[in-house]
Symmetry: C2
C-alpha cells in the first residue's frame, strides 16, 4: 500500500499578507492548497474544494504537474475565497483584517466517484457539517485525519462531537485542545479528547513543536529551528499535508510510522515558513526534504537509552 | 574523572510563594540551593553562599547528608535573603512582590582552599563582578558554567562581557539571549553570543525545552510534559544543577555527553516543578531519576535516520 493517494478537502484561496517585510497581495493560499503541495512531495494527492472565476487555470495546471488530481476542484460563479491579515513584528501573532468567503460560502463538498475509495483522508478546517458530508461520501478510509478551530469548537460543539467520533487522528493546536477539553494541562486535555473519538491526537505548539498521543504512549517532536522565518501562513496546513502524505507513502499507522510522519510534517512546515505564501514550499525538491530530515534527526539524536556511569 | 565534584556559587534563600493553589511561606529557596540538590543526585557538590542567623543548621545538615559540602556557606549576622512572588493562574508568569537581599547584599564569595581545585564550576545568577571574583579564586576548572539575567545584561554589560570570555557554557533563557545579542532569531542570537566567549551555549525555553549550540552543531531537547505542574520556582536552577552534575559524573565535555546532560537537567527540572519549593526534588531517588529518563527517551525516540520508502 505504498504511495497510496490522499484525499484532501478544504479551502483554496487568495491571501493578502501584511508582513513586517512588506505587503504581499494576491498570494495563493487556502488550507487545501498548502496541504496538497506538501503532501504531493510524498504521495499522490486528490483535492476537493471550490474556486471562483478569478482563479487561474494555470495554478491548477501547476498542481496537476505535481501529482495533485484536481478533478474535485469545482469552479463556481463568483470570486475565490479571500483573506487579508496582518502579522506582528516578530510574526508570533496575526490579526484578520478581512475575510471574504465568496464562493466558499456555499461550498458543499462533492467527492468525485473515482476519489471515494481514497484510503487516506485529510479533512481541512471547514464547518463540521461539511466534514460529516465528506465522510458520508467516502468508502471506509484507512485513516481519517481532521483539523478544526475554536470557531467550530465553541460554535458547533454537537456537530464537531459527531465528527470526532469518526476521526482517527485529530490535529489541533494547544489553544484549541484547551478549548475543546476545558482542561489547561495538555497531557490531561489529550486524554479527555481521545475519549471523544480520535484514537490518535496531535497537539501542535507552533514553533515549539508537536505532541502526539496514541495507545502506545506520548511522543514529542520540536519545530525545526530556522535562521529566518518569513511568513508563517500555511505552516499548520503544510504540517498536516506532510504528515498524512508520509503515512500514505508508508501505508501503515504503526506508532513508529506516526513518529516519523510528525517529523516529515514538521519539516514541510519549516520549508513553508521560509517564503511568502507557498513560494518556498513549491520549490522544495526531494533532495531538499532529505537534507532537512537528516538535519532534523541530527538536531534531536540522543543515542538512545542513557546509562548512568558509576 | 567520574563523579568529579561540582562547585556551585549562588544564593541560599527563603521564598514566600503565592500560588494559585495557596500561599506558602518560608519555603527553602535560592539558586544555589536548587542547583546543589539537583546536582547532588549525580555527583559530589561543594556549595558557596551566605545565610543569616535565621537559617537553620538542620537544613545544612540535610544538604550534607546528600553529599553537599557546605564548608563554603558563610553564616553572616542578619537575615537570610528573602523573595516573595505571585504566580499567574496558569503558572506561566510571576510577579516579584518583595525582595529583601539582607545578608546577600554584602556577599563576597570566599572559596575555601579545599574547593579551589574543583574541576566543574557552576556560577549562579549573581553580580558579574562576584562571578569574576569566583573565577579569580579557582584553579583552571575543566568547565565553567554560568547563568545570568536581564538585570546584569542591561545593567553591567562590560563586566558581563568579561565573564563571558571566561565561561565555557552559558545557560540563559530565550528572552535573555535576545537581550544579550540584540537579535530576535535564536539561531542567529546563539552565533552572536558564542563569538563573545562561551563555546557552548544553552538557550532555555521554559516548558518548551532547551536549545544547545557548540562547534559540533545544534541540539534540541524538550521539557518533559507533566500531568501536573505545582510550582515552577527553581526549575531553571535544578536544570543547571542536573546538567553540570551529569557532566561531572561522566567527566568529559564531548558533544554526546552534553546532549545527555541536557536531558538530565531537564528531568531534574521536571521533578522540581512537581512540588512546592524543593519538596519533590528532595525526595527524588536514583530509581525515580532512572525511570523519568527512560520515559523521557521514549518520548523522543525517533529510530534514527529516516529512509523514505519508494
Amino acid at each position: 500500500m505504498n504511495r497510496s493517494p490522499v484525499l484532501i478537502v478544504g479551502s483554496l484561496a487568495y491571501d493578502d499578507l501584511e508582513m513586517p517585510s512588506g505587503t504581499f497581495e494576491n498570494v495563493l493560499g487556502g488550507a487545501a492548497t498548502y496541504s496538497s503541495i506538501a503532501a504531493s512531495l510524498l504521495t499522490p494527492v486528490r483535492v476537493v474544494g471550490v474556486v471562483g472565476n478569478d482563479f487561474p487555470e494555470s495554478v491548477l495546471d501547476d498542481l496537476r504537474k505535481r501529482g495533485v488530481d484536481t478533478a474535485g476542484v469545482e469552479r463556481a460563479d463568483g470570486k475565490t475565497f479571500r483573506w487579508r491579515g496582518r502579522y506582528s513584528a516578530d510574526l508570533s501573532s496575526r490579526t484578520t483584517l478581512d475575510t471574504q468567503l465568496n464562493v466558499f460560502a456555499d461550498f458543499r463538498p462533492k467527492i468525485p466517484a473515482e476519489f471515494k475509495a481514497s484510503p487516506f483522508v485529510l479533512l481541512g478546517n471547514i464547518h463540521p457539517a461539511l466534514q460529516l458530508e465528506v465522510l458520508a461520501q467516502v468508502e471506509k478510509p484507512q485513516l481519517v485525519v481532521a483539523d478544526t478551530m475554536n470557531f467550530w469548537i465553541n460554535g458547533e460543539p454537537k456537530l464537531l462531537g459527531e465528527v470526532l467520533k469518526k476521526v482517527d487522528l485529530l490535529v489541533i493546536n494547544d489553544e484549541e485542545a484547551r478549548d475543546l477539553s476545558g482542561i489547561h494541562n495538555l497531557v490531561k486535555a489529550a486524554a479527555d479528547i481521545r475519549k471523544r473519538g480520535p484514537k490518535h491526537l496531535i497537539i501542535k505548539r507552533g514553533e515549539h513543536g508537536a505532541l502526539f498521543f496514541d495507545d502506545a504512549g506520548m511522543f514529542f517532536a520540536p519545530g525545526y529551528p530556522l535562521e529566518e522565518v518569513v511568513d508563517p501562513t500555511g505552516a499548520g496546513d503544510s504540517f498536516a499535508g506532510g504528515l498524512v502524505g508520509y503515512i500514505a507513502r508508508v501505508g501503515n499507522l504503526a506508532h513508529p510510522t506516526m513518529r516519523r510522519a510528525i517529523y516529515f510534517g514538521s519539516a514541510l512546515g519549516s520549508f513553508c515558513v521560509e517564503g511568502i505564501g507557498p513560494r518556498r514550499l513549491l520549490d522544495v525538491s526531494p533532495g531538499d526534504l532529505r537534507t532537512r530530515m537528516d538535519q532534523f534527526m541530527a538536531l534531536v539524536e540522543t543515542g538512545g537509552r542513557v546509562e548512568l556511569p558509576e
